[in-house]
């Protein structure tokens, strides 16, 4: 690991250590925050007991479903919009505004329409993630060098072969950036919906534990979510960077 990496690790260890110290020695009230070590123990016990397995499976299932729909549909929509420049120009103002408005405020509207079930959660997850994928697809298709279609003709490649062998790989790093954003947006939207209003799921369980003053349970699940989100985002980020480096693309 590099020097910077070691310093970073040290910073994180000291921060967690300071929190542990402050909690253990009463600088922070246990009713507010429990020591990190106790969070980890509580999480270990909870996972070993299997009590939360159903909720965990439910939440991550919804997240994966929402992200998968957003990525596949977003790519398809992006391809269609890219082929219709006039539609694309007309949609421009909507894309520029989309992430500026709190889309999440429409979650209760979806609950009103579809009832309190999985559907509105998946829908708000897809709605939050899909536009990032559409925009990344448009960007990726824009970045395909024009010379590639000439190369394709020199090699007498058909439309399908050109799309799969040349255009898709040329656009791939930009598409992946879209996937990365879709994953983190989808994750955030699903968890937020479960927190605010949901029949079940990790967000709901944490929010219930908060109401019941069940701090070990609350912090255990919080820790789980933070670990999973950080891990997934770090893997995607590392992959993204490596790809960009290999392709000589400036940091995305």
């Amino acid at each position: 690991m590099s020097r910077v990496g070691w310093i970073r690790l040290a910073v994180i260890v000291i921060a967690v250590g300071a929190l542990e110290f402050a909690c253990q020695f009463g600088f922070i009230n246990r009713k507010v925050v429990i020591p990190p070590s106790e969070m980890a123990v509580a999480l270990g016990k909870l996972l070993a007991s299997g009590q939360a397995n159903g909720e965990i499976a439910r939440t991550f299932g919804i997240i994966v479903l929402a992200i998968a729909i957003a990525v596949v549909l977003g790519f398809a929509i992006g391809v269609v919009i890219h082929a219709l420049p006039r539609l694309r120009q007309a949609l421009d103002p909507f894309f520029a505004t989309y992430y500026a408005v709190p889309i999440f405020i429409f979650y209760p509207v979806m609950v009103a329409i579809f009832g309190l079930s999985v559907i509105p959660i998946v829908l708000i997850g897809v709605a939050t993630a899909i536009v990032a994928m559409i925009m990344a697809t448009l960007n990726g298709l824009d970045r395909i060098p024009r010379v590639l279609s000439k190369v394709a003709r020199v090699h007498r490649m058909g439309a399908v072969a050109t799309a799969l062998r040349l255009k898709l790989p040329a656009a791939a790093p930009y598409l992946f950036t879209g996937v990365k954003l879709a994953v983190s947006y989808g994750f955030i939207a699903v968890i937020a919906s479960e927190f605010i209003l949901a029949p079940a799921g990790l967000g709901r369980v944490i929010s219930d534990a908060y109401s019941d003053f069940n701090n070990p349970r609350m912090y255990a699940l919080m820790l789980l979510l933070i670990i999973v989100a950080t891990f997934v985002n770090m893997v995607l980020h590392a992959f993204d960077q490596r790809w960009a480096e290999r392709r000589g693309i400036g940091r995305p």
């Binding site: 020199v154 007498r156 790989p169 040329a170 392709r247």
Partner: protein, 276 residues
């Protein structure tokens, strides 16, 4: 064989070729090229020079079958070229067309794999072409890790490996610095001699054309036509050291004499276009 014996020496030809781009969105149609007649002799090195925007690249793309001529006919090895790049023609473009997602080795192997050549033969030919192009040590590298000149070599290797009989080079060294260009010129001469292929090189650099070519066609400003075709009479064994010869100066002098007025025209044209 329907080709007359007298034509056996003619490898490819353009007859009365013009290219007019239809005006888009209320603009006037653009007459880019022609009429142009050209016979490429089998195995010769033909250079094309001309002011920017004179239709040099259009000429190359029409010859390659990448564009349809508006009028006239294109022939390659006795068969008309119709809307498809014929087998036996290789093209190297001005833009960097190396595939950044493939290693140098896989870039070179691309065409062979498309053609379904078996793995052993592919390996033999790719290794051979990489050694020839001085890319052997970079076989596992990705294009982004290489300089512009090396990337253009990758593109040349990808073309050569298919053993084209006519190689079309569209200002392949336009983006490189002058010294690198001279060295790349040596490489091209070497590959021309070894493959025995016919080469057509488009360039805006008079010295490059004068040093590499057996014959040089000087094109007029748009619409591009050949104003003069200069024979250089260089020996087949030649390299960049001929830039020091007296004849070299005479050739570039004659080319510049032809092109000076045309380049001014094209500059003036550009100036007018910018003022609009």
């Amino acid at each position: 064989m329907t080709t007359a014996p007298a034509d056996a020496a003619i490898h490819a030809s353009l007859k009365g070729v013009t290219r007019i781009y239809p005006g888009a969105g209320g603009n006037k149609p653009v007459h880019a090229l022609g009429p142009v007649d050209l016979d490429l002799r089998r195995g010769e090195f033909f250079g094309v020079v001309g002011p920017s925007g004179c239709g040099k690249s259009t000429l190359l793309e029409v010859l390659a079958g990448l564009q349809q001529p508006t009028a006239g006919t294109v022939n390659f090895e006795g068969k008309p070229v119709m809307g498809e790049v014929p087998d036996g023609i290789g093209v190297v473009f001005q833009e960097d067309a190396s595939f950044p997602w493939l290693t140098v080795w896989d870039n070179a192997a691309f065409g062979l794999r498309r053609a379904g050549i078996d793995e052993a033969e592919t390996r033999r030919r790719v290794d051979d072409v990489l050694a020839f192009m001085g890319l052997k040590d970079f076989a596992r590298a990705y294009p982004a890790q290489l300089s512009g000149g090396m990337r253009q070599r990758v593109c040349i290797a990808r073309t050569l490996v298919l053993q084209p009989r006519l190689i079309l080079l569209d200002e392949p060294f336009g983006a490189l610095d002058a010294q690198t260009r001279l060295l790349m010129g040596d490489e091209v001469l070497r590959l021309w001699r070894r493959t025995g292929a016919t080469v057509l090189l488009i360039t805006h650099a008079l010295d490059e054309a004068a040093m590499l070519s057996d014959r040089i066609g000087a094109m007029s400003a748009r619409p591009g036509r050949f104003m003069d075709i200069v024979e250089t009479h260089w020996p087949r064994e030649r390299d960049s050291t001929i830039v020091g010869e007296v004849a070299f100066g005479e050739i570039t002098g004659r080319l510049w004499e032809n092109l000076r007025g045309e380049s001014l025209k094209s500059l003036g044209y550009a100036g007018m276009a910018a003022a609009e």
